[in-house]
Symmetry: C2
Subunit: 502 residues, 2 copies
C-alpha cells in the first residue's frame, strides 16, 4: 500500500510539511505573521472549499498537492501561538528542542504502559519525575547509580487528570474499601479549595462521586490566596454538617490572578487535621525551577501530591503534565487491576511497568520533550526562563502604574498582570467607588477591545472577570522570546482600539 521509496508520495508529503512548518515557525517567531487571522466558521469553510472541502462527506481520496494546500490553510487560519505577541493563555509557542522531542516520540509511536514497549522512555520518566520531586522537596531515595531511580509519580494527559488522580489517592488512603464497594458505602467527603481554584477540582469531585456539594470553597485574601483561618473555620463547619474532611486542594498559581496559596500554613492545618494536601501547581509549580522565585512555594515539600504542567511555563508542546506523589507505592494500591495480557510477571523488568499505576492504560509519551529541553538548557536555563517571565510581568505592572489610561485590576501573582484600559470618562478609576453603570461599561468595553484586537490580529491576550468585577485583561508571560517591545506593542494596540471605541 505504501512503499519506502524516497519518491513515495507520503514521504514527500511528510518532508514538505516539515519544510513548511520550519519556515512557518521561523516567521511566527520573528513576528512576521499576525498572531491570528480573524475568520469565523463560514470563512474557514470557504477557504477550505477552494482547496479541499473541510467536510469528509464526499469520501474521496485527495492528491498530495491538495493535502498540502489543506495544510497551508490549516496553518494560516490557526492561532499562531509561536508569535511572541501571543499572550492569551497559560501556554505559548513550543520550545523548538521540546518540539523535536514530541515529534520523535510521536514517530516512534508507542505507549508508556510497559517497559517492554517504552524502555528508554520509562527510564527517562523515572529520572524526570525524580528531579521534579527533588525540586519540590519531596522525600526521594538515593538509589545506586546503576539502578533506575524509584518512581516518584506519573506523567498524565493534562492537569485535570492529575488532579483527579490526586483526589482518588486521597480517598483511597482513608477509605480503601470504597474502591470495591462504591462511594455509596462511604462517608460524605469534603474537599477544601479556594474560591479561585481551577474548576477541574469541582469536576473531579463530581466524577468521583464525591459530588460538588463536597467541594467547599474557602475565601481568599486580597491577593487571591486561600485564607488559612477561613479554611480552619470551613473544616469545623463541614464536620458540624456531617461531612468527613478529606483533602485540601492548595493552588500554586491560580488561573486568573496567579495567586499562590500559603502552603506552609495549609500544610500545618492538614497535618493537624489528618487531611491529604494536594498542590495544584499545574501553572505555578514551575517557579520551583528558579532559586529567585521558589519562595512562593514554601511548604510544597509537605504535599501528599502535586500536579505540575510543564506545557505551561516551561514551553513544552501540549501535553506534558506530571503528578508527583509523596508515597508512590499508593499508586499501585489505588489503581492496579492487573490485566494479565499486559502486565505479565514473566516479562523482563515487569517491575518497571507503569500501566497499572494510573487510571489510563496506554499513556502517550510526553517525557522525551521535557528531558531533551532540560538537557539543552540545564538547570540554569530553566531558571532563566522563569526569571524572565517574572521580570516581564514586573515591567508591565510598572507601565500600567505609570499610565493614566490603564489601571491595575488586581495585584496578581508573580507572572499574571490584570488590568483595565480606561475610557476618558473613567480616568482615574477606583473599583470601590465605581457605580454599576461604570462597571458595566468597563466590563463590555474590555470585551469589545478584545474583538477589535482580534480584527487587527497583531496581539492576542485574554480577559476575565475577577470575583464578579468587570472584565479585565489578563496578560501572561509564557514565551521567553517575548521582549519589552512586545509588551509595549500590546499596550499601544489596546490604546488604539480603546480610543476608537471608548
Amino acid at each position: 500500500m505504501i512503499n519506502t521509496d524516497p519518491r513515495d508520495p507520503d514521504q514527500l508529503l511528510l518532508r514538505a510539511a516539515v519544510e513548511r512548518l520550519l519556515n512557518y515557525l521561523a516567521r511566527a517567531r520573528a513576528r512576521e505573521l499576525p498572531v491570528l487571522v480573524d475568520a469565523g466558521p463560514s470563512q474557514i469553510d470557504d477557504a477550505f472549499a477552494r482547496r479541499v472541502p473541510i467536510s469528509l462527506t464526499d469520501g474521496l481520496a485527495h492528491t498530495h498537492e491538495q493535502l498540502l494546500a489543506a495544510i497551508d490553510e490549516t496553518v494560516r487560519l490557526s492561532v499562531h501561538t509561536a508569535s511572541p505577541r501571543f499572550f492569551n493563555q497559560n501556554f505559548a509557542g513550543p520550545d523548538l528542542v521540546a518540539l523535536a522531542g514530541d515529534w520523535i516520540a510521536t514517530a516512534l509511536n508507542t505507549t508508556g504502559a510497559t517497559f517492554e514497549m517504552a524502555p528508554v522512555f520509562t527510564l527517562m520518566e523515572l529520572h524526570l519525575l525524580r528531579r521534579l520531586a527533588q525540586l519540590a522537596g519531596l522525600p526521594v531515595d538515593s538509589p545506586e547509580a546503576s539502578e533506575p531511580p524509584p518512581r516518584a509519580g506519573l506523567m498524565l494527559a493534562g492537569g485535570s487528570l492529575s488532579n483527579l488522580h490526586a483526589l482518588q489517592l486521597a480517598r483511597h488512603r482513608v477509605a480503601p474499601q470504597l474502591r470495591e464497594q462504591g462511594a455509596v458505602a462511604g462517608p460524605r467527603f469534603a474537599v477544601f479549595t479556594s474560591s479561585h481554584a481551577h474548576y477541574s477540582i469541582r469536576k473531579a469531585a463530581q466524577l468521583l462521586g464525591i459530588g460538588s456539594r463536597g467541594v467547599i470553597r474557602v475565601a481568599v485574601d486580597a491577593l487571591g490566596r486561600m485564607q488559612p483561618a477561613a479554611l480552619e473555620q470551613a473544616i469545623v463547619e463541614a464536620r458540624a454538617a456531617g461531612l468527613t474532611p478529606l483533602a485540601v486542594n492548595a493552588t500554586a498559581g491560580t488561573t486568573v490572578v496567579g495567586a499562590f496559596d500559603p502552603l506552609d500554613q495549609l500544610a500545618l492545618i492538614c497535618r493537624r487535621e489528618d487531611l491529604w494536601l494536594h498542590v495544584d501547581g499545574c501553572f505555578g509549580a514551575s517557579l520551583l525551577f528558579s532559586p529567585a522565585q521558589r519562595r512562593v512555594l514554601s511548604g510544597i515539600e509537605h504535599a501528599d501530591s502535586i500536579a505540575w504542567n510543564l506545557h505551561k511555563m516551561m514551553g513544552m508542546p501540549q501535553q506534558c503534565s506530571a503528578l508527583l506523589v509523596r508515597r508512590p507505592d499508593q499508586l499501585r494500591a489505588c489503581f492496579a487491576e492487573q490485566a494479565e495480557y499486559l502486565f505479565q510477571p514473566d516479562k523482563p523488568h515487569a517491575e518497571l511497568d507503569s500501566g497499572d499505576l494510573a487510571f489510563p492504560c496506554a499513556r502517550r509519551i510526553d517525557v522525551l520533550k521535557a528531558w531533551l529541553s532540560w538537557k539543552r538548557y540545564g538547570d540554569a536555563g530553566m531558571a532563566a526562563r522563569i526569571d524572565k517571565a517574572v521580570a516581564h510581568a514586573d515591567y508591565l505592572r510598572e507601565r500600567i502604574a505609570a499610565a493614566d489610561t490603564f489601571a491595575s485590576a488586581h495585584p496578581g501573582g508573580p507572572c499574571n498582570v490584570l488590568f483595565w484600559w480606561l475610557p476618558a470618562g473613567l480616568r482615574p478609576f477606583a473599583l470601590e467607588s465605581a457605580d454599576g453603570s461604570m462597571r458595566d461599561r468597563l466590563h463590555s468595553l474590555t470585551a469589545a477591545i478584545k474583538l477589535g484586537l482580534r480584527a487587527r490580529g497583531q496581539v492576542m491576550l485574554g480577559f476575565s472577570p475577577i470575583d464578579g468585577g468587570p472584565n479585565c485583561f489578563r496578560m501572561l508571560f509564557m514565551n521567553p522570546e517575548v521582549e519589552r517591545d512586545d509588551i509595549d506593542r500590546v499596550l499601544a494596540e489596546i490604546e488604539a482600539v480603546g480610543a476608537a471605541l471608548g
Copy 2:
C-alpha cells in the same frame, strides 16, 4: 534567548532530528532494522552515559551535538513499531500522512477547548465525529452546507477516558442529582460487561464511586462474545441483590481474542430494561469502515455511546480516540462547569467551545492527523486497510491449521489470531485432554519463546493466557505494510526458537 536565524542551533537541531527520523522510518518500514534491541535498564543507562547521562541530576546544559547523540540512542533503543514485523500491540507504526498531521498540530501548540484557540480544528473535529457517527448509524442531523455540523461527541485522550465519560453520562441520565450530592446519595449501580472486556471498565467504576462490586462480569460464549441470556440472568440477579442496573458495556473487539459482543441482542435487552448501551469499540469499531466487515457491528446504531480509537487499526499515531454519543446535548448537562475566564458568552462563536463538554479542560489536538489521513485515502482506502488486516488474519489461521507444530488456541475475532507453538511431545495438542503439566509446559514455553524472539530482535508479538488457559501467542494486524512474507517470518522465527527450547 532563542533567535530565528536559520543558523540558530535549535532550528538546526529540529531539522537534523527530522532528517534522522525520515531516514529511520524509511529503514524501519523497509525491514532494514531489527524490531527491537534487547536491552535492559543498565544497558540503556550505559549507552546514554557514553553520550549524555540519562539522569538529570547534573543539571548541566548540553551541546546540540550531545542532544543529537541522545536522540540517536533514543531511537536505536526504542521499539521500532514502524517495522512491518511488529505485531505486539493493537497499534503499530504510524501512517506517514497522519504523522504529518500530528507534527503540524503539535507545532501549532494549542488546545481544543475553545473555538477561539482552535478554529480550524474545532470544525475538523465536528466533521470527523459526524462522519464516524454516520458510519455507526447514530442519528445525525443534516445541517445546511454552510454551517458547521452539530457536535456528535468528543475526541479524548484515550479509550479509558472515553469509557469513563460514557459511564458518567449513563449515571447522569438516571441520577443527575448525584453530580451535586455525590454517589453516597444514590443507589448501588450495576454495570454489566463481559468477562473478556477491557479492564478500564472496572477502573472507571472504581473511580466514579460505583465500585468494582458494581461491575458484573457476564459469561462469554466459545467465541468470547457476551451471552445475551447470561446478561438477562445477571440483570435479574443484580436487581434481586438490591443493585440498580445502569448500563451495559458491550465490547466490539475484545483485547485478547478480538470478539464482538452481539450488539443487536444486547440493544434489545437494554431497551427493554431501560439501560444505557455503551459500545467499547476502541479496538474494533474501525471495522465499520469496511463494507465487507462491518456486519459484526450490527446493532451499534442503537448505542447510547461509542468509544472508538483511531490510533489502533487506522494507523494514527497515539493518541486519537473518539467518544460518540447519541444525545450530544447530554455532554454539557453532565460536565459543564462554566469557568468564566474561559467560556465567555461575549466571545464570537462561543457556542462552538467544547471545553465545557468533557472532564478535561484543555484537549490536545488529535483531529488533524485523522482528518488528513482520511482525506488521503478516502473511504475506499480506509476500507482497504481493514480488509487487508482481516485477510492477513485469515492467512495466518490457514497456516496454523496446516502446520502440525502449531495449534489454534482460540477461534479469535476477525483480526486476532491466537495460537501455540507445540514442542514435539505435545503434538498433536488438544487443550481439553491436556493435563496440568502439559498446560504448564505450554504456558512457560510460550513466554520463553517470546524471550528468545526478543533476543533475536527480528519479530515482535505478544502473548496472553485466555480464560486461565496456558499462555498463547496473540498476533494482530495493525499495519497495512505487512505482507505474507512477514507472517511467514514470524512463524519461522517461532519455530527456530521453539525447536531450540522445546
